[in-house]
Amino acid sequence: MIRSNIPAVTLGDEDISAIAARHPDVFANRPWRRLHGPAVIAAIALYSVYCWFFFGIGKVLNEANWDIAGNYLADWVSYEIRPDFEIEPDGAMFIEWSRFSPLGAAPDPDWIDLTHGTMERSSGSDAATSSASVAEKAANSFMMPGQPGTGAQETVSEAAGAQTAGARDAADQESGFSFMAPGAPTASNPAAGAVRETAPQSIAEEVITRAVVRLGADNTVTITPTLVTLTRGAESLAVRLGPGEVVTPEGVLPDWAQQRYAGRKVVAFFGFTGRVEVDYDGVKVRHRFLGWENFVFDARSPFWGRSAAEVISLVMSGERLDPSRSNLALAWNNILYNADWQHLDVWTKLLQTIVMAFVGTLFASVLAFPLAFLAARNITRNRVLNQLNKRFFDFLRSVDMLIWALFFTRAFGPGPLAGISAIFFTDTGTLGKLYAEALENIDDKQREGVRSVGAQPVAVQRYGVLPQVLPVFASQALYFWESNTRSATIIGAVGAGGIGLKLWEAMRTNQDWENVAYMVLLILAVVFIFDNISNALRSRLMGASRP
């Protein structure tokens, strides 16, 4: 061997540098080659700087509202309950709930303690002419005084007094509206009009005098009409309301509270459990709870607020809540039509997305299959036909899926048909191109073998070509099926059906991030399941074809 002819040598430094000097091209790259890497990196850096200014990234990031980001993210997994304590200029305090409170129509959570009292209120100059308007106003407020016994014979002033007496019962009694009661002031006695003229301008009303709100274990907010005491752990802050439209914190603000402008509202943060906004005319409490509220039953359902064991026992053996149907049917219906979560709608839309991807990909691969045979230059020996088909594939691919989606949304109306067609058109192009490439790369020996025994052209394709490419075709179709499940979500948002639009609408309100989270979880689950199915099928297909 060669090696045995050369004795082992040790090169000195001199020899090494001599060799390096004789063959510089081996030991030192040409300058442009050496600078290749740094040049590319410099170009990328320059481009990034250009993009920074082109998009104004710094400015946008500066102006971003990152506080909101935290809130929105928290909304994914939690919900807020928002009681508002309204304080009128005369010191009367009422509690108001947001219209669709997760606690139902008449919330009375155990983390709020209310102390009630009666208060003589002036009905105000604009309402002085008619105390009925006071009754109306009172009826519109949350603590609606209702008096079932309010008769038509009573004078209006008496009615007002009677209402206060019966303040706390029958909040939903319509008869509190004595003004609207048939014939109340007009047909009863003419004295009513006279009394109205001289009606006392002050009425007694049931108001809240003190409220204690507990946010979590060691935060409390004590609200009285003139003083709000916020306690976070060991620290505590007193905020004086008024006189006038002024809010004054007593002492130094701790770092968990802030007041942007002197005399204006004070916002206290209690971490995840919530925050409180104190203003001269009221206190807004935002108490955050972990979890998805009313996920199974909404507040209108008779099953709402019951424990799982209660619901199960009701469904299994309870009295019929609705005489027309069984409890099971009622419960199932209530779940499906849950107003907050819209389970049925979400599931239907998700199914639409799945169907869009499935049917679109299936049709695309079925159509791409014969066309690819025409496009492959080793199968169809007709240059014009090859080129025509390939350009057709390119056309389908290059008109974006977005354009197809918008076009078919116009043609078929919004819905999954548009999505199916968009995926079908785009993927016929993509799959056709890939299939044609796979056909052009086949091993020619099998085909020659089949042809040499005098087989018909169709038989040559069937036995010489198809066994080679079919696993590849199927595998690629499966891959696109899975990837289309994802893209079907996006084109849905432009109206092509499926869950995309629902997601987009839920996000646009900026209120329903928990619904977004729910849909994202469903989508992720579907994508993972299909990913695994498609991977398993693909590895079986490809495994069978490999030696």
Partner: protein, 328 residues
């Protein structure tokens, strides 16, 4: 089965009589064929049932029914016919239109983006540039992070199963998370504009490029790595000098392929609030501005063809005729 019945079965086939062993082989073969046929037919029937159920469902839940809408199929094109073909060019290059009546439909020059006093970039070219920049920037970001992550996910470089597994799960998660939600979330925090689109497309790109990259790394030649390990190189040195030189052409090639996909993705994201050409396309279609819509479609088509051709040419230079088969 008794011998008699085997014989009768063999005789029923005709031809020369079979010995009992021969008949057994024949019967076995027939059973196999039958079973295969049943599987095939059963599979096709199941597929057809699922397909027709799907089609029925799609048709039922669609706003317009397929056969009702079919006669109106080409209405879109009829609606899109501009008043004269030259209108498309005017819309494309922001030239004044003779039909200008003060409405948005023909106010082509209004969108001009002036770079100097007299030199302007037509609106749609500028928007197209924006979309292209979104795609390129997010491919770069995706490339960077995918590059950093992929070596940690490769079986031949990292033996710790937990590190590898968690990086892979992370990439799967980034890939599967709906882009539209990321875009929508950042639209809510930032404003409507290209940056939410960049973030959304980048995050998706990190996941998908990372997956392709670590598959390349796992198929790489391990001999340079062995050599480096033999002389005591650290993990980073092994990756940098043993792996990167041989995988970089493939990486670049995959990144170019991803760039093609990202151009389309950023167009779509644009249509749902991400700015760029997608947004103007959606607006102009919904407002029924024919010439503008056609100009945008034309521009988008040409750009996508150009990007595809450029990327195919560059990929061929980088890795030769190596085919990229999805899903292999």
């Amino acid at each position: 089965m008794s011998l008699a019945s085997v014989n009768s079965a063999a005789q029923s086939g005709g031809g020369p009589r079979l010995s009992p062993e021969g008949a057994l082989v024949e019967r076995h073969w027939q059973e196999l064929t039958l079973r295969r046929r049943i599987y095939t037919v059963g599979g096709i029937v199941a597929l057809l049932v699922v397909l027709s159920a799907s089609l029925w469902f799609a048709n039922e839940s669609n706003a317009g029914k397929f056969f009702d809408r079919l006669p109106y199929f080409f209405d879109f094109f009829i609606d899109l016919a501009p008043r004269e073909p030259m209108e498309i060019w005017r819309a494309l290059f922001d030239l004044p239109s003779p039909y200008y009546d003060g409405s948005f439909q023909y106010d082509y020059p209004a969108g001009r983006v002036y770079l100097t006093e007299t030199f302007y970039v037509p609106e749609y070219f500028y928007k197209m540039l924006e979309t292209l920049n979104i795609a390129i920037l997010s491919t770069l970001i995706g490339f960077t992070f995918g590059f950093l992550l992929c070596f940690v996910a490769a079986r031949n470089l990292v033996t710790n199963r937990w590190i590898r597994g968690s990086v892979r799960r992370l990439m799967e998660f980034l890939r599967a998370f709906p882009e539209i939600v990321i875009a929508g979330f950042f639209v809510a925090i930032l404003t409507i504009g290209p940056i939410p689109a960049i973030i959304a497309v980048s995050i998706h790109t990190v996941g998908s490029l990372g997956k392709m990259f670590f598959e390349v790394v796992e198929n790489a030649d391990m001999r340079p790595d062995e050599g480096l390990r033999a002389v005591g190189a650290s993990w980073i040195e092994r990756v940098w000098f043993g792996m990167v030189p041989q995988v970089l052409p493939n990486f670049t090639s995959y990144a170019l392929l991803r760039l093609e996909i990202n151009v389309r993705a950023s167009t779509i994201i644009g249509a749902v609030g991400g700015g760029g050409i997608g947004e103007v396309l959606r607006l102009s279609i919904s407002r029924g501005h024919e010439a503008k819509t056609l100009a945008i479609i034309l521009l988008l088509f040409l750009t996508i063809v150009a990007v595809d051709q450029f990327s195919a040419w560059l990929r061929k230079r980088l890795v030769g005729e190596q085919a990229f088969e999805f899903g292999r």
